[in-house]
Amino acid sequence: MLLEIENLAVEVGGKRVLKDINLSIAEGETHVLLGPNGAGKSTLFLTILGFPQYTVVNGTIKFKGQDITDLTTAERVKLGIGVSFQTPPSIRGVSVRDLLKIESHQDMDEDLNPRMKELAAQLKFSDEFLDRDVNFGFSGGEVKRSEILQLLAQMPDFTMFDEPDSGVDIENVELIASEIGTLLDKDKPQRSRVRSGLLITHLGYILNFVSADKAHVLMDGRISCSGNPTEILEDIRKNGFNGCVECAQCL
């Protein structure tokens, strides 16, 4: 297993948000995390990422066989974890170009490498755009494309996407989906895929363009249901998350 979460309980500001999470993701797999607002989806992401505000009160997170529960965020990222945020903060005086250099392990004095320049153009960013302060005055779509571009600089082994298509117009959803595909080895046959991912999506629209192997429904701090993404989504579309509540009660 690439990522193994066992009996995970997490508190944020003294409040228990995640109660008992068990989740495993194998190499080459893409999983989807569904659930109503406030269920704890983002909390799970940020706990896997290791933000200090998320206190693990029980359980473990293993990545590549190593217990990473007590590692810092930067250490986890160095092991190969990446994330695209739904609404990242803007930072004055820190440009997209600066970040891309750091993420692709370049020296700050060097010019941005040709591969990154090409990828930036592919994601419809002009060279001048890269000098803007990150996320400062970006449109919804620019934020998402910049997040994906930064991930392409990192090429993590395991990538988490928090609502990668929200606020993105239809023509750019396909563009973003295609780059997500690159990050998740979708261009390779299933058996030779190595990179894995976990997608948070509200409406599941992005799943029309990115195939997923498994879906999980997070309800009230627990994974209430796991299975075939198409079937689960269909069920949620028909019955809402209430269906999942009933389903959870059966478990």
Binding site: A74, K78, I91
Partner: protein, 416 residues
Amino acid sequence: MDVLSVRNVYSDAERAKDKKAPIGADVTIENFSDEAVNAMDLLDDLDDVDKKTKKTLLKVGVDTEENNRSGSFLQVDQSNIFTNNSISDSIEVMGMSVALDKYKWLEDYLWKVVKPDADKYTAKTALREQETGVTSGYFVRSLPGTKEVMPVQACMFIGDEAIMQTAHNVIIAEENSELHLITGCATGDDIASAMHVGVSEMYLKPGSKITFTMVHNWAEQVEVRPRTGVKLMDDSTYINNYILTSPVSTIQSYPTAYCDGKNSRAIFQSIQGGKKDSIIDVGSRVLLNAPNARGEVISRAVSQDESKIYSRGHLSGTVPGVKGHLECHGLVLSDDSMIYAVPELEASSANLEMSHEAAVGKISEEEINYLTSRGINEEDAESMIVRGFLNMDITGLPDELAEQTQMMIDMSVDGM
């Protein structure tokens, strides 16, 4: 200046010699000694200064090789030891005493936008001029209709222990001319304590532009009291950039721009980095006194260690149709330091537009998290955020000068 007004300057100064400044810690002037005026030998070449001084000067933007400069001036303690007036045909650079000999009319520009009785520091400067018969400081003037893109560099350097350095500078941009200045102030490495008072009066004639970029690099026990007044006539533009990121004992300044001409525009941008137990009290004031005048005051302050920063700004609109904006952002990096933002807007006419934006706080956790999620460790993330915060875009400089200024800022900010 006629006899009567000369007498007025000195009598005003005499009366104000014990007058405390309205803000800032009171400095006991008597603790510092007067240095003999022009007692030092002149340098033939600016590059003749010793290696250590050279390095210090470079930090405040003064290039001893004078590359890409249109003129140079260096005052050490109370002596003008170097002036280069021959680089540009458009610019005049002289010691004040030389300039006053050459131009009788220059007296009309003395003590007009800074008053001799403003406080005991201006009074001391005026009285010293009377006692010694010498006006220290520099005179820089751009000739009518000229645009010199290279900057004049001027430096005030303190090399002797426990002295009080005074200077009285006059800068004039004649009609439709453009003038750029880089002024650096610094102390020698071995100076423990000293005091600096610099009176600067600037005049922008119709259609002219001055950019004035000042970098301060004082020692930890130096008291600094610059006094600056700027008069703007029709269609003129003044841009002031101020950078301080090294420790100082106390600094208090509140440069004031008088936008007296229509369509005149004053912009103040400052970067204040508080370290150790520095007390920094720096403000900028723009008086919008003519139709369509514009004022902008932007400051970034970061406090570390036990430093205290008072970041002030004052816009005053007195006629209709003026616009002003004040922006004051502060980051408090240590629990023992403090930032006190004082933005003031004053409107005494209907139909004008003034706004301000002030925010003081600690480094945002969300920003640190974002950077750590890109593999940057927490400590590096913090310093990136601080550097980014301080690294504001300097506007209004010619390309080459903008590049150099950016380098100066980077250098100052890197040390934070």
